[in-house]
Symmetry: C2
Subunit: 401 residues, 2 copies
């Protein structure tokens, strides 16, 4: 018998994937350069040259057993040391290799974090708008993902709603800042209040509520914005990082879990990750990729295009009358649709070859996401279509029409 | 609260790891070249040059987004096609890319296979002697691994015991041929009888009993031995392959699931693997490694040293009076210890700097494993220690002493 729950998932259609497939098909008709595909969050900038150079240097110069041999189940020791040193330098917390577990991308890091602190039936709280894959990531462990509705004023945390939902069943709270899909960075005030609430409730319930911080966009922060270090606010934080976006290597599945050194049992938790891996089958991330990222920990791809694109879109959208929180980072923007049903709004936009994703997918109906990890030239060309779309469908609603 | 089951696992000591740590520590005292470390199954031969060349060629010549971008969740299409074509050519079954799911090593492939066909509480049957990691791999899914005792005459399958244990709760049978730790290759007669029994019992119970075939040693088969294709005997076979041993790249975590094209719902099963990945966090294997192995599918590292080592050890062991089934492949041999308790036997051997692993770990007490993936020169030097060990402890038991 095939297991029904996975079979059932096959009929569930991913809105983002469907839109992306539409974009590809439409591209075959009219040329992909004429499709303004804002559907996918796929890094568009080249990998840093140093990464490629390091890979080639190792392949040409080092013994194959050192490059491609088994990694210890917690990760290559020198790599864990390098990651810890870099985190300590940047964030001022006393990270050591004992706090670092190398993981296959953020998905792998999260898969370990969830299993560290939840049993089937427990709850994990996250905040809309949120990355929709959190649903299957959490629910397939047997725990339940609960989503706190958004504070649409600023896409920080809706603490009123959160307090209602933070029951004794909640074992962890999952945050993602800078945020996919809103682009918003949680402020120090937000994180301080969050930490205070978690501390209070942990004491009240007699068990630690862990904070799981998913940080794949940590390095994509725009000028004038400060992205506070989540772990610095709360001892019981499990940081989940991925190099996918900072180095433009999403296919190489490389990231880590970093347990806050001040977290009780931090070292035990990292060792437990090595046990969790045995059950879920990723015993270590690819060894040569571990070695290569360790050489470029303080570098990123040239991420400036994302800020350029954000400014162009933000200015145009607000000029057209959209309500829109200005992103502080990532390569997403999350404006309010010009009609109540964002699904209808996005469907209409397709007629202008604008591929936008309705916010329902992210737990925020009435909004839509644009992933602007595309060439600036294309962003600029899309503005005409955007203007026509708004003018021909929503004249009078936008301020400047 | 940290999850107890993973915490508990930390106190469980791996015998193999302890022995390997002993070998490392002893090596620091007397020089590692003087420790006859037969503990770890870690490939000792260099990676094929073509693999390294392909990696360098791609890194120097191709766009980084093509090399390091997201892979589709089932694997890169061209890679799946190449794997299917190679399998069809070799085994004569009509594999297409729709039957192939790229996985992060054999552990990743198995993690998907188990979840495809078992729910918590179901049973998976395997055969002693067996790879001890199967325990946590299966049991952490919630299913239960049951081990059929060995047929010590030849380390084929003990069908009498198997029939007793093949109850209605068994949803899958897990085989590993060529076998770790015995080195034995299942014969066509064994596989035919196994298939017949599974077919009969599937009909009797009204549900398919799947055959999961773990084949990381498929390419390490010695002269004069034929290693029959497991999938060719039974339609409902899920093949789990890893390139770790054939290409000496165990750290790169690359393998695949290949569902027998004649298996009902084969394509659905592959699609389900893509859903399972979402829950266990390895959405695709590293993309550049996928691309590189696809270029060298029909190559292997120079594996001849393993056969050379096997012959030296087999001849010496049998000359010393050990009872030993001759390995048909792998880089393991699994002789009977010269006293009842193989743990005591292996402990005694340490005094001669011979690091052997007791068979208890593999579900076959009274036997011991030697992993001879080491230099031939060291195997030859170990023979003196082996002779002294036997002579000084077991004189009179060996035929030639």
């Amino acid at each position: 018998m095939l297991v029904q729950k996975y079979k059932d998932m096959l009929s569930g259609k991913s809105v983002i994937r469907e839109l992306s497939e539409f974009a590809t098909a439409r591209g075959q008709e009219i040329g992909y350069e004429n499709v303004f595909d804002y559907s996918l969050g796929n890094p568009s900038v080249p990998v840093p040259r140093e990464f490629t150079k390091e890979m080639v240097r190792m392949l040409n110069g080092e013994e194959t057993s050192a490059l491609h041999g088994y990694s210890p189940s917690l990760g290559i020791t020198s790599v864990r040391e390098a990651v810890a040193e870099s985190l300590e330098r940047r964030f001022g917390l006393p990270y050591r290799k004992e706090h670092i577990f190398m993981a296959v991308g953020a998905a792998g890091a999260l898969a370990h974090a969830f299993r560290l602190v939840t049993e089937p039936g427990d709850e994990i709280l996250t905040f809309a708008p949120y990355f929709p894959e959190y649903g299957p990531y959490v629910n397939l462990t047997g725990a339940k993902l609960k989503v706190v509705p958004p504070d649409t004023d600023n896409f920080q945390i809706h603490f009123g709603k959160m307090e209602e939902m933070l029951t004794e069943k909640v074992m962890a709270v999952l945050v993602n800042t800078p945020n996919n899909p809103s682009g918003v960075v949680y402020s120090a005030a937000t994180l301080k209040r969050l930490a205070g609430l978690l501390k209070k409730k942990s004491e009240e319930y007699g068990h630690t509520i862990y904070l799981i911080s998913d940080e794949p966009y940590r390095e994509i922060v725009f000028r004038g914005v400060e992205a506070p270090c989540v772990s610095c606010f709360y001892d019981d934080t499990i940081m989940c990082y991925s190099f996918s976006k900072s180095l433009s290597i999403p296919g190489e599945r490389i990231g880590y879990v970093a347990v806050n050194p001040h977290c009780r049992d931090a070292e035990t938790m990292v060792n437990m990750c090595g046990q969790i891996s045995r059950g879920i089958g990723h015993n270590c991330p690819p060894s040569i990729i571990q070695l290569a990222v360790a050489k470029v920990l303080d570098r990123t791809a040239d991420l400036s295009v994302y800020e350029t694109n954000m400014n162009i879109l933000y200015n145009e959208l607000t000029a057209l009358g959209f309500t829109c929180v200005k992103p502080g980072g990532t390569f997403y923007i999350f404006p309010k649709a010009l009609e109540e049903d964002a699904k209808v709004f996005c469907r209409r936009a397709l007629q202008y070859d604008l591929v936008l994703v309705p916010g329902d997918t992210f737990g925020a109906p009435g909004y839509f996401r644009m992933a602007y990890c595309i060439d600036t030239e294309k962003v600029e060309r899309s503005l005409g279509a955007l203007r026509r779309f708004v003018k021909e469908n929503y004249a009078g609603q936008g301020m400047c029409l």
